[in-house]
Amino acid sequence: MTDLPTETTRKMGLVIDLDTCVGCHACVISCKGWNTENYGAPLSDQDAYGADPSGTFLNRVHSYEVQPEACGTDPAHAAQLIHFPKSCLHCEDAPCVTVCPTGASYKRVEDGIVLVNESDCIGCGLCAWSCPYGARELDLAAGVMKKCTLCVDRIYNENLPEEDRVPACVRTCPAGARHFGDLGDPTSDVSQLVAERGGMDLMPEQGTKPVNKYLPPRPKDTLAAQGMEQGAGDIDLLAPLLAPVTEEAGGFLGWLDRALDKLPGGQS
């Protein structure tokens, strides 16, 4: 039965740092690379080299612009660009599991990972309808539902070197913006990170209780504000670095410089 487990032993999931993600899409590619070759049906593309390409992805990176409100002390705050990776959040109250008519969708008791048993899936699409985050995509070639598996075939895989036993996206992220661990254990690194940085849920009002957390971006763009406080207006950040280190040239060039100066008409 696709009833949800009342409790899972662990709550494995991701913590995504919106402060450090640079929007490089490396996680998108490594995710597709690993998951098209391993667990379940490949992630197909349609019209991949044609005019209207599309395909199945388990992780997609959006970009949002946030424009802070103008206020008295800060009349023209700069807008901030925030890159926003999104994959399955392995919700505790996963609606995608309970709507499934075949039992193909399930949540594991041992680690809370939400998976699709593809040989039972009839491709009705109802689970994708019920997911508020757009984390499930019906693969057009296979006719079954695809979703993030939290790289279940990596994290416990003894054939891989230990450092590779994390999800492909986490392993690949060049910015260190993705963290993997047990969010049910308050002493774990990821739980502490969430506590420290005020990790948040997406769409909490949907009642899905996501396991994955997002770390909000730290405030940026304060330099201009500082400049304004000092009455300096626009300050040139690089100016101090561009100042000459020494006015006197030494060595051969120095000798040449001085020698040329001595020639008639040299020193102007």
């Binding site: 997609r60 901030q80 994708a128 508020p132 997406l202 769409m203 909000p216």
Partner: protein, 296 residues
């Protein structure tokens, strides 16, 4: 939501079919023999035809039978189970009516209850989805499916006075559904601010989508095409599904042939009208995932 023809055909036709079975089960009309055969043939063609159409929508239709297993948690599974049990029960009742010229009232009542319960389970597939605020209206969404199914069933069963009352009721429900549905998304509390969690920092705007091309999510959930015709289609759907059938029923005509022709026109107009409103039911429904793409 993408208005997929199989799903529209399914909800429209099977709704009507089960509506007709409801009345037949109650002995309205208490037909036997050949007449009963024709009535049941129509009801089963509609109900079963709708169910078969819905399987066209599946990625792997050959495994559809697996959908009977999760009735404890899934409305879609409940719907499948309920439909099969209703069809079997009414099938038995139909055998009595057609071949044995007898009515088993208890079996009929049970079949009628199961038939209408099937329509309810269908409506709950949509009404349960919090992700689509326009559908997530209980009791309005189930009420809409039930009243339309009963009105259509009464029309098909030739229950004129009941059909009139039920059509009026269905019309009022439809208006209420549209009225409340237009506000549902805004009152759901889900916005791009809550979707990204960035709302406290300022105005959030979708700057770049993940890919330059389209994808499954956009095709399935962000159907903006044709919404511009929504207002016109509402009028057309309402007139065809409710007003015209009501007029056909109300016209005081003498001849039996003319009466039958008008009844046929009422049924036809009703079916097209309901299909039209069902198209709108999907096309106008906005999924919250659109917010991530800066769309509705």
């Amino acid at each position: 939501m993408h208005p997929a023809p199989p799903v529209i055909a399914f909800t429209t036709l099977s709704g009507l079919g089960f509506g007709l079975l409801f009345f037949l089960g109650l002995g309205l009309p208490a037909v036997t023999g050949w007449v009963a055969f024709i009535f049941y043939a129509i009801a089963y063609a509609l109900a079963v035809g709708g169910l078969l159409a819905s399987t066209l929508h599946l990625g792997r239709p050959e495994r559809a039978w697996k959908a009977f297993s999760q009735w404890r948690s899934s409305w879609l599974s409940r719907e499948g189970c309920c439909a099969v049990v209703a069809l079997l029960t009414m099938g038995l009742y139909a055998i009595g009516a057609i071949f044995l010229e007898t009515h088993w009232p208890f079996l009929g009542a049970l079949g009628a209850a199961l038939s209408i319960a099937t329509v309810f389970t269908t409506s709950m597939i949509y009404a349960q989805l919090r992700t689509v605020p326009r559908w997530n209206m209980i009791p309005l969404t189930p009420a809409l499916f039930l009243t339309l199914s009963l009105a259509g069933g009464a029309l098909l069963a030739g229950q004129e006075s009941k059909a009139t009352g039920l059509l009026v009721l269905a019309g009022l429900t439809l208006l209420a559904y549209w009225h409340q549905g237009d506000r549902a998304f805004d009152t759901s509390g889900t916005t791009i601010a809550s979707a990204t969690g960035l709302g406290t920092r300022g105005q959030v705007r979708a700057f770049e989508p993940p890919h330059t091309g389209t994808n499954y999510l956009l095709r399935e959930f962000v159907h903006q095409l044709g919404r511009k015709h929504a207002a016109r289609l509402r009028v057309i759907g309402f007139v065809l599904a409710i007003v015209l059938p009501l007029l056909c029923l109300a016209l005081p005509v003498g001849g039996l042939a003319l009466k039958h022709a008008l009844a046929g026109l009422a049924v036809l107009s009703h079916i097209i009208g309901v299909a039209c409103t069902r198209w709108l039911f999907f096309a106008e429904a906005e999924h919250v995932v659109g917010l991530y793409y800066g769309k509705r």
